[in-house]
């Protein structure tokens, strides 16, 4: 169908488009405009040039700290989550009994929301730390590793599912041929499994990277940024800037814009990556 009468086109697209314009499009454009204003609600905006952006970085070092904390957290999480998920996927694709049950178990934490996850682990981490006379708010280091644990618990199962799909798609003939040629399991892994699941590795790497970067709920419930704001990641810092103190809304919006650019860069990088791979194959 190349053409459709206008009234039908409107019938099919308008409900989504109207909701999209209200929920996303206008707030997004307005958001960009407001980064250049000072305001406390959207109706009392006053032009302020780029001062919000300057203030985001100079007023205090919260945003810079949050950026460093987030980058470190994302790097550590991406590596650990993918190593664990890939390892589990390897173990669970050996035609062993109970594999389906295990997959079910490892995936389950992914369905639990970030707020609930954070409080579950707050109990456990504080329960361990109390033996040393401290709790998670004692140092940002504890918060950091606590968040790494929570992120792993939540995302490992999800990535494992994607890796399992990738491993099961490898033609069994290849594995057999390798066996006949006398390859040991390390050689098979290095020369067959890893190269053939490379697309899944790319997907999972960027998925964990984007998710780690945007983490909010877990951060709010596990540490709420404590001690002070030392364990606040970017999303939480932006939230605190908006709603913590009146007069900083513009700064919050500018930080959100910078955050958006960070996330967009990750996505662009991913597109580049998958394009090159498609061209190669």
């Amino acid at each position: 169908m190349q053409k459709m009468p206008k009234k039908y086109y409107a019938f099919f697209t308008l409900p989504t488009i109207i909701a999209f314009i209200v929920a996303f499009f206008i707030p997004f454009l307005l958001g960009i405009y407001l980064t250049f204003n000072t305001f406390t609600t959207v109706t009392n905006a006053k032009w302020a040039g780029v001062s919000n952006y300057v203030r985001a970085f100079t007023e205090n070092n919260y945003f810079l700290n949050a950026t460093i904390f987030t980058v470190k957290f994302a790097l550590v999480s991406v590596v650990l989550i993918n190593v664990f998920a890939f390892g589990l996927a390897l173990l669970l694709t050996r035609k062993m009994r109970g594999e389906n049950g295990f997959r079910t178990v490892f995936f389950m934490p992914n369905l639990i929301g970030g707020i609930v996850l954070g409080y579950i682990w707050l109990l456990i981490i504080n329960g361990i730390l109390i033996n040393f006379g401290v709790d998670i708010t004692y140092s940002a280091k504890y918060g950091f590793w606590g968040l790494v644990v929570v992120a792993n618990w939540q995302m490992v199962g999800y990535m494992m599912i994607i890796y399992i799909a990738g491993i099961l798609a490898i033609p069994p003939e290849l594995m057999e041929a390798a066996k006949i040629d006398g390859a040991n399991s390390w050689q098979t892994l290095k020369s067959i499994t890893i190269p053939l699941v490379m697309p899944a590795i790319t997907i999972c790497t960027f998925l964990t990277l984007a998710n780690s970067f945007k983490l909010f709920d877990q951060n709010l419930s596990l540490t709420a940024g404590a001690p002070g704001r030392a364990s606040a990641m970017l999303a939480l810092d932006i939230y605190n800037t908006f709603y913590g103190r009146v007069g900083f809304e513009g700064v919050g919006q500018a930080k959100a814009m910078v955050f958006t650019i960070f996330v967009a860069l990750i996505v662009l990088l991913q597109l580049r990556f998958s394009r090159t791979r498609e061209l190669e194959s």
């Binding site: 039908y8 989504t16 959207v42 173990l91 669970l92 109970g98 959100a256």
Partner: protein
Amino acid sequence: MNAKQNLQNNVTFVLILILAVLFLSPIFIVLMNSFKGRFFISDTPFALPNAQTFVGLENYTSGIVKTGFIPALGYSLFITVFSVAAIVLFTSMTAWCITRVKSKLSTFIYYLLIFSMIVPFQMVMFTMSKMANILHLDNPVGIIVLYLGFGAGLAVFIFSGFIKSIPLEVEEAATIDGCNPIQTFFLIVFPMLRPIAITVAILNAMWIWNDYLLPYLVIGSNYKTIPIAVQYLQGGYGSKDMGAMMALLVLAIIPIVIFYLVLQKYIIQGVAAGAVKG
């Protein structure tokens, strides 16, 4: 060789079994603590309840009363069910229309929706919640519109990918038989979208059920969903009631576990399918 492989498999099995038990232990620890008195939780979370610390269902009753858990469960269910229904219905219509009608407008709509997937929520949260106030969308019905708008990007993307793989002939035959586009879509196309519609429904249900920030900002002062109720207990005034917190965590997990056990097969398939595209 066979005996060696058997042994290896058994060792792996035991190893994974231990891992799986460890993986689930946090949930059991919370469950166990939900039956202990509120002052016995933080200090000794790994101790089993005993005659001194066991309080029966006291934490559950106080947790339910303090946070209004019953209405919260109602709001969460209502918002999730109707938002997911709206997303599946309206975005499949949109995706079909802009995939089949090849025009500049269709392409523009498609890329605009895709673009919204990249933008993090923090970019629009302030302006969006003000907008929701002005338009009176700050109630459990109005929030459905917001979820449709936010969910549109991923849903249209997934539906479009699937629709491209459906042969045109069936729809053309329907048109020749005198179906108008609305009849063609609902009688012919929509039933064929079933498998991918399940994927879209599951991905969105997981997101909306667990979503905290959007409902908190838009309706949180008047209507608490489950994540808001949990967070409210933490952020509340005075000393924190750990007993009620444990009970509420258990209550928040139960619906998810039921949902998972019933729809397990679809959830795991849906996640794999959705991830490859996202």
